[in-house]
Symmetry: C2
Subunit: 364 residues, 2 copies
DNA sequence: AGAATTTAGCAACAGCGTTGCGTAATATGG
DNA sequence: CCATATTACGCAACGCTGTTGCTAAATTCT
C-alpha cells in the first residue's frame, strides 16, 4: 500500500509493521527483542504490542526467566489469524495455495487450464479452486484476499493484463476489478516473478537485502527486491531478463534482437546440453550482479528446478569465480525454498504484505 | 538520511521535504499547488510553509489574483539560502562546483591531479579549491557540506574507499571521516555514477521515475534511481554496467570475463568507429531497459559527450525500435543536462538531499 | 453597497512516540 | 526469612504532528 503524505496513522501502521516483521522473522520474541531490532522505546513497543494483541495478530507465549529480575513476557505471531490465497497463472496450469500470516503454505493444488483459456475460464477455475480450499476450513473474516501471479506484460497499478505472452483473449483485461467483483475478495495482480521474489522477502521478515529471483519456465524472467520493496519498473515491465543480449552475433530471438539470453540458453537446453544452458544462465546472473550488486540470488521455475543442482552449481561457480569479486562482495545463491509453490505463495504474501507489511511512501 | 523507526519528527521532515520538492520543481507555487500535489490538508500546508519560512528556505513572492475571491500568496524557494560543494574525483582531474538549493551550478573549476595522487594530495586540492570558491562569497552558515563523487569500489555506508580502480594508494581509506575533520564540513562519499543520477533526480524535484545514468569515461558505468531513491546495491557496488557480457565469445576483458560491454565498445571506439561503439552501448542500454523498465535514460561522461549526438541517436533508435516495445512503454533518452558538471553537481546535491530531500526509512 | 467566492489562519482535538517515575516480580545475599 | 538488587512493565503527563470546525479577510460580480 503506497501513499504520499505522512500523518500519525502512517506512524502507527509503520511501527506496527516493524513489530510484525520481527515476529515473522524470529518465531518468538519479547519486548526487548523489538527494542533492539527497531530502536523504538520500550514504552512504544508496549503500546504497539497491546494494539496487535487486541487485533488478534500476536499473543503471549509464556515468559522467559532471566538470571535475575522479573521474567519477560514472550510473544509470538498467531499464524492462523490471517490467511491469503495465492494463484500462479501459467500458460497451461493454475496453481492455488493457501498461505498463513507467517508465510507457511497450507494447501497447494494444481489444475489444468485449457489452451488459450479466456478470462472467464480463469475466473471459474479460480472460484472453484478457492471454494475447494476454503470449504474445509472456516476462514470467516481471516481471509485477506487473493493474489494473482501472472505472465506479463501487465499493469500492476491499474490491475490490467495488457497482452499476456502466448495467450490470446488477453488484451487489456481489467482482471483485478473483474476478479474482485466475481470472487468477492480483494485481489492483487502482479507479474509472476515479482510475486516470487516477494515470497522470499516476506518470509525473511524485513532485513532482506537486494535480491533477484531468476525463473526459467518456458522463458526466462527475473523478479527484483531492491531497497526493501519489489521493483516493478516504470510500467510494471521490469524482469524481461531473458531478453537481454549476451551474444551480439547470436541467433534471432522472437523479440527481434540477436543473441538474447533466452534463445541462447534454450538452444543449449533443447540440444540436451543442460550444463551449457546453466553456464549461459550463469553469465546472465553475473551480469545482473555487476549491474545491481545483489545480496541474494534465488533460482526458480519448473524447467530450472528439474535440473536444480546443475544450475545451482553453475551459478554459484560463476558468481564466486568471475570478475575479481573480493570477499566483501558476498552474494548467496540458492534454489527457491518454496519450490514449485514459489510464485503462488508469493502472490498470496503480496496480499498479506499490503495489509501487514511495511508501508511504502509513494514517491511524489 | 535513513532511519528505521518513524516518529513525529519524521512526519515533520517528510512533509517539509514534500513541499520543498514541489518548490524545486515548479519555481513558484502557492498553498493550493502543494495541496493538489501532495494530498496534505490546506491547514497542514500552512503550518509547513510557516516553518520553512522561519528557516529562511522559502519566501513569499507576491500574490496571484484569481478571477474572484481573495488573492493567493505565491511562494518560492530561496535558492541562495543553502549551498553545497560537489567534487568529481577522476583519475587525473578534480572538478569542483558550487550548487545552490535549487540545483543551479554557480561555480565550476577543474584542476589537474597528479598521476597516482594520494589521499593527502586530494585533501589539499579539495581544501584549496573550496577556499577559492568560498573566498569570494560569504556563505557563513549556508554551506551544507561537501559531496565527493568518485571511482569505486567504495563503501557508501561507512564512507570508505575500498580500492579505487586504477589508483594506487587508495586501499581502505576512510575518506569521509578524514575529509570531514580536515575540511571542517560534513562530507558525503559516493560513486560518481550514483552522484550523477542524483543530480537529474534532484533537479526534477520528486516525481522522477526509475532512471539510469550511463557514463562513458575511461570505462563504462551506470548510476540508478529506482523507486524514488538512489540504488547502490548490497555493497555500494551497483553500476558495473560496463562489465556485463554482451558477446559470449568476445575478447578477454580486464575483469577476466569475455565480451564485456566495455571492451567491445572500447575496441570499436579505439578503431575510430564511433558509430559502432554507440550501437554497442545502445545494446547494453536496451538490456537495462528489459531488465529494469526505466522511464529515463541519461547519457553522460566525457568520452560520450564528445560524440553526444551520435550516441544519443543510436540509443534512441535502439530504444524505440528494438523489442516490440508498445507505445505504453515510453522511455525518454537524453544527454546529461549538466554536461561535464553532472557528477560534481550531483555529489553536491546528495548533500542537499540529505538535509532537504525526502527522507528514507531504512529497511529493517 | 451587498452578495458570492476564494484564501488564510486561529483554536480545539485525537493520536503518535517520548519521558519520568512508580510498581510488580524475580534471584540473591545476609 | 527478609532486605536488596535487578529486570520488566505500564500509567500519566507531555510535546508534537496533521485534522477538523469555524471565523475573518480580501477580492470580484451583481
Amino acid at each position: 500500500m503506497t501513499r504520499i503524505t505522512a500523518d500519525v496513522s502512517f506512524l502507527r501502521g509503520y511501527n506496527q509493521a516493524l513489530v510484525m516483521a520481527v515476529g515473522r522473522r524470529v518465531g518468538t520474541f519479547e519486548r526487548s527483542t523489538v527494542v533492539d531490532a527497531t530502536g523504538l522505546t520500550p514504552q512504544a513497543v508496549s503500546k504497539v504490542i497491546a494494539r496487535l494483541t487486541a487485533d488478534g495478530l500476536i499473543r503471549s507465549a509464556g515468559v522467559r526467566r532471566p538470571t535475575v529480575g522479573k521474567p519477560a513476557v514472550v510473544y509470538e505471531l498467531i499464524p492462523e489469524s490471517r490467511y491469503a490465497i495465492g494463484a500462479h497463472v501459467a500458460r497451461r496450469t493454475l496453481r492455488l495455495v493457501l498461505v498463513d500470516l507467517a508465510g507457511t503454505v497450507h494447501h497447494s493444488a494444481v489444475s489444468p487450464l485449457a489452451a488459450d483459456f479466456t478470462p472467464e475460464h480463469l475466473l471459474h477455475a479460480l472460484k472453484a479452486g478457492i471454494d475447494a480450499i476454503t470449504g474445509g476450513n472456516d476462514l470467516r473474516g481471516r481471509l485477506t484476499g487473493v493474489g494473482l501471479g501472472m505472465i506479463g506484460p501487465l499493469d500492476h497499478e491499474h490491475g490490467l493484463v495488457r497482452d499476456a505472452h502466448g495467450l490470446r483473449h488477453w488484451h487489456d483485461v481489467p482482471l483485478r476489478e473483474v476478479a474482485e467483483s466475481y470472487l468477492g475478495l480483494p485481489v492483487h495482480l502482479d507479474k509472476d516473478v515479482t510475486a516470487g521474489i516477494t515470497a522470499e522477502a516476506w518470509r525473511h521478515g524485513g532485513a532482506f537485502g537486494d535480491a533477484a529471483l531468476i525463473m526459467v519456465e518456458s522463458g526466462i524472467g527475473g523478479g527484483f527486491w531492491l531497497g526493501g520493496a519489489a521493483h516493478r519498473g516504470a510500467h510494471t515491465n521490469a524482469g524481461e531478463f531473458g531478453h537481454t543480449v549476451v551474444d551480439l552475433d547470436g541467433p534471432l530471438c522472437v523479440c527481434r534482437r540477436h543473441g538474447c539470453l533466452e534463445i541462447v540458453h534454450n538452444r543449449a537446453a533443447e540440444a540436451g546440453d543442460i550444463s551449457r544452458a546453466a553456464r549461459v544462465l550463469a553469465v546472465g546472473v553475473v551480469n545482473l550482479l555487476q549491474t545491481l550488486d545483489l545480496a541474494h540470488v534465488v533460482l526458480a521455475g519448473a524447467d530450472l528446478l528439474r535440473h536444480g543442482d546443475t544450475y545451482l552449481a553453475a551459478v554459484e561457480r560463476a558468481v564466486h569465480a568471475d570478475g575479481r569479486r573480493g570477499d566483501w562482495l558476498a552474494t548467496d545463491v540458492s534454489l527457491s525454498s518454496l519450490g514449485a509453490d514459489a510464485i503462488a505463495a508469493g502472490a498470496a504474501m503480496q496480499v498479506l504484505d499490503e495489509h501487514y507489511g511495511i508501508p511504502d511512501l509513494a514517491p511524489l
